[in-house]
């Protein structure tokens, strides 16, 4: 094993050696630089290996042959080894990336780079506070020097600003160090003790000065203007290195200091960290410049980690796991993103769309964003989970809430950026594919995924990357070069195969969801055979969503449930994003989803701390106030997914703008995830009170209002797919209402809705999608008369609307019948009035769908269109068959569920004797109804057919225009603003209050960010003042509190 | 001895503070630079009084000597910049 001091010595030797090279031998000098960095990385790697595999003991390295505290010593323990490896590898790849710049600037620049990396190593390794100061100064000066590598002219000013501020900082650091020395009599980290500082007069202030100066290097808000300028103007490779290496090293320095300061300082660190996290994320919102945005994001991430450092008292064994996970994720992502920004010519975040067409790079971009936002399977996710559990477990709810709010804002701008990159028009400039740069980026990508695997392995909850469905989904990344139909087949076979292998494991409730996901999913996928080409990106996203859904119903503990939840959210986000104009809608989808997910996380974290039992049992055992909170958080979280009214604004756009075969997936299948969550929750916890309010009762109202307003909004909609999307809100409202009734029949009804909604909404979305595909528009008033051209689509829609509106004899009626029976035994009567009203309204918009699209006069421009493609029609016809079958024998699925529900709601079940289904109040015989209606209908229809058998068929205009073609045929189709009387009477109910509410919130956040960032005037004096003010404020808070 | 020392220290301190004000508020740039050098120089004297000959020497050679040179060197290169 090579001593850790050699890392520093090697760097120094190499940089001094560079002086021997003639300025002309730059390539050789570059070689030496790379070699030195590689050697440093090798030493760290060796140590990491020793610690990880051989369980080596931490090594103390004494200098000068004298024991500390009388000489400087270093320590190489596992954290040090890991951090130096991170720093050195980042340094190595940055050097690789910087090849051109370094060769241009010569050996001095290379030496500076080496010093920078060496200094960061030193900060990590040293155990002496003054030595720490020396390394800090080295890092500062080297940073100033490396700014010169940038091609940006403003970089010099940025470097200068940094020097100015660091002058002030180092003055404080020096004073702090000397007074600490005075107070403790040593300069050594291991021999200084909290009690020394406490005992000596002025010791606390001494520590405070030292601490605040080191923390200032972490760019705390508001003393971080200089850092942002550096991030914006530095060479991207250096910005990445700065963000990763400086942060990692300085965070470790703070960690070392916090041990000295004792627990009293932990809240200070947390406070600074969390304020920085939120403020930086807020200020990042209005940013358009990619590197400055990344700068804000870096600042925010580091703030978060600082906050985590301050929580070491409660994190216990998980401390390094959490903090390390965040650092690792931050490192891979930030280095990768900065390096990517070097390839992109434009500095506006929209310009990143130029990455499209480079699958590896765009995958890298996506991975980096996922790393930053802490999505599974990346380390940030594990860290987020453990942190939430620890915070909830020790009652630090406000902190948890603040962190999650900050994370949500962060996700907002990161996903907005991702959306731009994936959807906006590609700029004309191509990216510059410098091979060494691409190598570095791929290294960061590989590191990110390696971290993901590593953290999975270290996690107590098992490795996310070991789950079969997820691996299946990820394998599509590798298969993406195949033609779409091959991938489609693989997907279908995989999903059905998984179902066949696993269906015996599900109880009836889960089985229903499993069938919808794993059999229903492939049925929708049949429509995907229609796609041509390779359809890059579709299958990984879709399969990720299905993997998440599959894992969701298989999950038995909080962690795996939440993993699955995040996976399906991410998968569906990418799926939705594929639509042509779906970018803003996908953004609002992901933000609402993540917001919901954070609520769920909080709820789970609260519940998980109470008992280590499996999820269901743990929820059952909750009592008291906690139970109310958990229930509320989880319920709201799940209702975000079902788009309950108030949280619904993401849905219409997201579902409507998605591709033809995606809309049914996200509507027919994905929405069920929320219902599943609600079912699990309510089965486990029953009714809960929250400060005296019956939450389930509130949910009953929410369900009813969703049903009413969702339907009402649907009838005023001109866009066919948006209409269906609003209808989903209404339908989910019904289901929620059923669940909230908390009786047997309510649940049967909800399950009936689950099944029915899947069938008819998938079918209708496919039909609407097929029609939109053929006509080139989704606006219904531009269609009309398509019945003769697209008869199969028409039949699907006809059957669909009969089913949805609950008109007998189709299966929708079954849902209504159970519903009415269910509410007869319900306790609350007012909300049901609202649901009553929404029933006929559903009928209105559905009628409009069929009337405006298929009936009436055909438009001239549509005269030549054909039936929707075979593969789009095929699943629709399957659904028609299914609806018929389900209408006749609803017992097929419901009977077992009914029995299953008996264990939870023993009373009020259904009686399934013979062909009649009997409830406590009424009865219903689906077969008889079907036969009677068909008999009457059939005989009349046959009679008409018979008597008119010889009649001649005439065209449409013959009917009312006496065979004359009207001047403008499109004006003869009354379609726009179809339900005008309704709008006149009830339009006020559907004013977009909710949308306005959320928009106002977004506006406020943006404005706050925009005003807040004016703080950074660009003047280093202001920045220095910020730092001083920061010192004073923290000082007063600390002395005051 | 001690009283003399103290008196000298007070004198030095007052002189340094005065020079420091000149350095930051004085109108002319060269004088400001010289004043800053003077602060350094006086500090090195004070270091001597504080029984720190090593520091005194370093401050005198580097802090007041070399630094002042550097300032003038640069100032000479930026005629006109001093009045900004």
């Amino acid at each position: 094993m090579v001593s850790a001091i050699v890392i520093i010595a090697a760097a120094l030797a190499a940089e001094f050696m560079l002086g021997l090279f003639n300025e002309r031998w730059r390539a050789a000098a570059y070689g030496v630089t790379l070699f030195a960095l590689g050697f440093m990385a090798f030493i760290s790697a060796e140590w990491v290996w020793a610690f990880a595999v051989y369980d080596a003991q931490p090594a103390e390295i004494f200098t000068a042959g004298v024991q500390p505290p009388f000489a400087i010593n270093l320590r190489m323990g596992f954290p040090e080894a890991a951090l130096t490896l991170l720093i050195n590898l980042t340094g190595l790849f940055s050097a690789l990336y910087l090849r051109r710049a370094l060769l241009e600037k010569g050996r001095a620049a290379m030496a500076v780079l080496l010093v920078f990396v060496m200094a960061q190593n030193g900060i990590v390794l040293t155990r002496d506070i003054f030595n720490l100061f020396v390394f800090f100064e080295l890092a500062v000066i080297a940073t100033g020097g490396l700014m010169l590598l940038s091609e940006d002219e403003r970089a010099v000013a940025a470097g200068f600003k940094y020097l100015i501020v660091s002058q002030v900082i180092s003055a404080f650091l020096l004073i702090g160090i000397i007074f600490s020395y005075h107070a403790t009599g040593v300069l050594n980290f291991d021999l200084m003790r909290p009690e020394h500082f406490a005992a000596a007069q002025g010791g606390a202030i001494a520590f405070f000065l030292m601490f605040i100066a080191v923390v200032a290097e972490l760019k705390p808000f508001p003393a971080n203007g200089w850092a942002l300028d550096i991030y914006e103007s530095a060479h991207p490779a250096f910005a990445g290195l700065f963000s990763v290496a400086s942060a990692a090293a300085t965070l470790y320095a703070v960690d070392k200091l916090l041990v000295l300061g004792g627990p009293a300082w932990l809240p200070v660190a947390t406070g600074i960290g969390v304020v920085t996290f939120i403020a930086a994320n807020l200020l990042a919102l209005p940013q358009r410049n990619d590197r400055r945005l990344l700068g804000y994001s870096s600042v925010a991430q580091i703030g978060l980690i600082l906050a985590v450092l301050g929580q070491r008292d409660i994190l216990g064994d998980h401390y390094f796991f959490v903090a390390g996970g965040l650092i690792a994720a931050h490192a891979a992502a930030k280095a990768g993103l900065y390096w990517l920004s070097g390839l992109v010519a434009s500095r506006d975040i929209i310009g990143w769309s130029t990455l499209r067409g480079h699958p590896v790079l765009i995958f890298a971009f996506v991975s980096f964003i996922a790393l930053l936002t802490g999505l599974p399977p990346f380390p940030g996710f594990y860290a987020k989970w453990e942190l939430a559990v620890a915070l909830a477990g020790s009652g630090r709810y406000i902190l948890l809430a603040l962190i999650l709010i900050g994370a949500l804002i962060e996700a907002g701008y990161l996903f907005r950026w991702l959306g731009y990159a994936l959807k906006r028009d590609k700029p004309s400039e191509e990216i510059s594919c410098d091979p060494s740069a691409v190598t570095a980026i791929i290294a960061a990508l590989a590191a990110g995924w390696a971290f993901a695997y590593l953290w999975g392995d270290l996690s107590a909850h098992g490795n996310i990357l070991h789950a079969v469905p997820l691996l299946f989904a990820l394998s599509f990344l590798l298969l993406d070069w195949l033609p779409a139909w091959v991938k489609n087949t693989v997907a279908i076979v995989g999903m059905v195969g998984y179902f066949i292998l696993n269906y015996t494991d599900y109880d009836p409730l889960r089985l229903i969801f499993a069938v919808i996901i794993l059999i229903g999913g492939p049925v929708i996928l049949l429509a995907s055979y229609d796609a041509h080409g390779r359809r890059i990106g579709f299958y990984p996203s879709a399969m990720l969503m299905y993997a998440g859904l599959t894992q969701l119903i298989g999950a038995t503990d909080f962690f795996s449930f939440f993993v699955a939840w995040e996976l399906l959210t991410v998968g569906s986000y990418f799926l939705i994003l594929r639509g042509k104009h779906s970018e803003p809608h996908a953004l609002s989808y992901i933000i609402f989803s993540l917001g919901g997910a954070f609520l769920i996380l909080t709820g789970f974290a609260l519940a998980a701390t109470v008992s280590p039992l499996p999820m269901f049992e743990a929820l059952q055992h909750l009592t008291g106030e906690t139970a109310g909170w958990v229930f509320l958080l989880l319920a709201v979280g799940f209702m975000t997914k079902t788009a309950a009214i108030g949280l619904h604004i993401w849905l219409p756009g997201a579902h409507a703008e998605a591709e033809t075969d995606v809309s049914p997936m996200v509507s027919g299948i994905l929405l069920k995830a929320g219902l599943y969550g609600l079912m699990v929750l309510m089965l486990a916890m029953g009714k809960q009170r929250f400060y005296g309010i019956d939450i389930v009762h509130v949910m009953l109202w929410v369900g009813a209002l969703s049903a009413l307003l969702g339907n009402l909004m649907a009838i005023f909609e001109e866009d066919a797919k948006r209409l269906l999307a609003y209808s989903s809100i209404g339908q989910m409202g019904y289901a929620l209402f059923g669940l909230a009734l908390m009786n047997h029949l309510g649940w049967v009804m909800a399950l009936m809705f689950v099944i029915n909604h899947y069938i008819y909404k998938s079918m209708l979305f496919l039909s609407a999608g097929g029609v939109a595909k053929r006509t080139g528009t989704r606006l219904m008033y531009k269609m009309g008369g398509l019945i003769t051209l697209m008869p199969l689509s028409f039949i699907a829609v006809l059957i669909g609307i009969i089913a949805v509106s609950g008109v007998p004899p189709l299966s929708g009626f079954g849902g209504r019948w159970i519903f009415y029976n269910a509410i007869l035994s319900a306790e609350h009567r007012l909300p049901m009035v609202i649901t009553f009203f929404s029933g006929p309204i559903a009928f209105l918009y559905l009628f409009r769908l069929i009337h405006t699209v298929f009936l009436g006069q055909l438009k001239d421009e549509n005269r030549r269109i054909k039936e929707a493609p075979f593969w789009v029609i095929l699943p629709q016809m399957l659904y028609v068959g299914l609806l018929m079958a389900f209408a006749i024998v609803p017992g097929l699925a419901l009977r077992r569920v009914d029995t299953y529900l008996n264990q939870f709601f023993p009373e009020g079940g259904l009686n399934w004797e013979g062909i009649t289904i009997t409830s406590q109040f009424g009865y219903w015989s689906p077969v008889s109804i079907m036969i009677i209606v068909c008999a009457i209908f059939g005989s009349l229809f046959a009679w008409l057919m018979f008597i008119n058998r010889r009649a001649q068929k005439v065209k449409q205009f013959n009917i009312v225009f006496a065979a004359e073609r009207p001047y403008r045929p499109e004006t003869t189709h009354f379609a726009w603003n179809f339900f005008a009387p309704y709008r006149k009477a009830l339009g006020f109910l559907v004013q977009p209050f909710v949308t306005r509410f959320w928009e106002t919130i977004a506006d406020i956040l943006h404005t706050a960010g925009d005003i807040g960032r004016r703080l950074y005037t660009g003047n280093p004096q202001t920045y220095a003042l910020h730092f001083l003010a920061f010192v004073v404020i923290v000082y007063f808070f600390w002395t005051g509190g | 001895m001690s009283v003399l020392f103290l008196a000298l220290t007070v004198l030095l301190a007052v002189a340094m503070i005065g020079a420091a004000f000149v350095a930051i508020l004085g109108k002319s740039m060269p004088i400001a630079i010289l004043a800053a050098g003077l602060v350094s120089l006086l500090a090195s004297v004070l270091f001597l009084l504080l029984a720190s000959p090593d520091v005194a020497m370093t401050e005198a050679a580097i802090g007041s000597g070399l630094t002042t040179f550097l300032f003038f060197f640069i100032l000479g290169r930026m005629r006109g910049g001093e009045h900004d």
Partner: protein, 232 residues
């Protein structure tokens, strides 16, 4: 005006902080553990009469190495900054010849000054002064030569070579400490000798000499780079 007021206000806060430090400060009646160790052991362990030197070169040798690196870094960056966008070569610039007196005087004085510098750093372990001070003095000798003849072509190569070699030897000595003595930068790779003699205190004189050369070279490099700039 607002800025001045804000600065005053905030600095008043800082002043309050400093006041607390000042008023709670009580000088130690006795040397603390660290200082006592140095006072008691330096003579025996290191063999240097100047304890500060012993601390700087040996006990806290890593700091000093870092310090040397700071100067190295500063020199390198100053070179980088000034190299950026440098257009004209020295020859194209207008030349203002130095006065006769200065030219002759510097020719005579510079070697003497440099000698003084050497003296200061080789005696660093005995008397006040050492590598840094000596280095600075050497650099002022250079400065004098520079002033005498602004166009004097400083051999950048030479400076760089001195700097690089002294630095590398310094690091090598440090590493030798691991191999031959108790650890990195342990000065015991050479015998301690007699307290107060020139060749005593182990490798300290050698190291301080190297530091002196290196610091001198670094300051000279900075000065040379600055002198290469043009008047704006």
């Amino acid at each position: 005006m607002i800025r001045k007021f804000a600065a005053l206000l905030i600095l008043a806060g800082i002043a309050a902080l400093f006041m607390e430090l000042l008023f709670t400060y009580q000088p130690d009646p006795e040397l603390n553990t660290t200082a006592r160790y140095y006072a008691d052991r330096t003579a025996a362990d290191i063999g240097a009469a100047n304890i500060v030197t012993a601390i700087v070169v040996t006990y806290r040798g890593l700091d000093t190495l870092g310090e040397v690196t700071v100067l190295f870094l500063a020199a390198a960056i100053v070179g980088l900054v000034l190299a950026q966008g440098r257009r004209k070569t020295a020859k194209e610039r207008a030349v203002t010849p130095a006065g006769e007196l200065l030219a002759t005087g510097s020719l005579f004085l510079a070697p003497l000054i440099m000698l003084l510098g050497v003296y200061v750093f080789v005696n660093g372990h005995l008397t006040p002064g050492g590598g840094f001070q000596g280095g600075a003095i050497i650099a002022s000798g250079m400065l004098l030569m520079l002033l005498a003849d602004p166009l004097k072509h400083f051999s950048h190569r030479l400076i760089a070579m001195v700097e690089a070699l002294s630095g590398m030897i310094y690091v090598a000595i440090g590493l030798l400490g691991i191999a031959l003595a108790g650890g990195f930068l342990d000065s015991h790779i050479l015998p301690n000798g007699e307290l107060g003699a020139l060749f005593s205190a182990g490798a300290i004189p050698l190291i301080y000499a190297l530091i002196g050369l290196k610091v001198g070279a670094e300051f000279s490099a900075i000065l040379a780079d600055l002198s290469g700039t043009e008047e704006l």
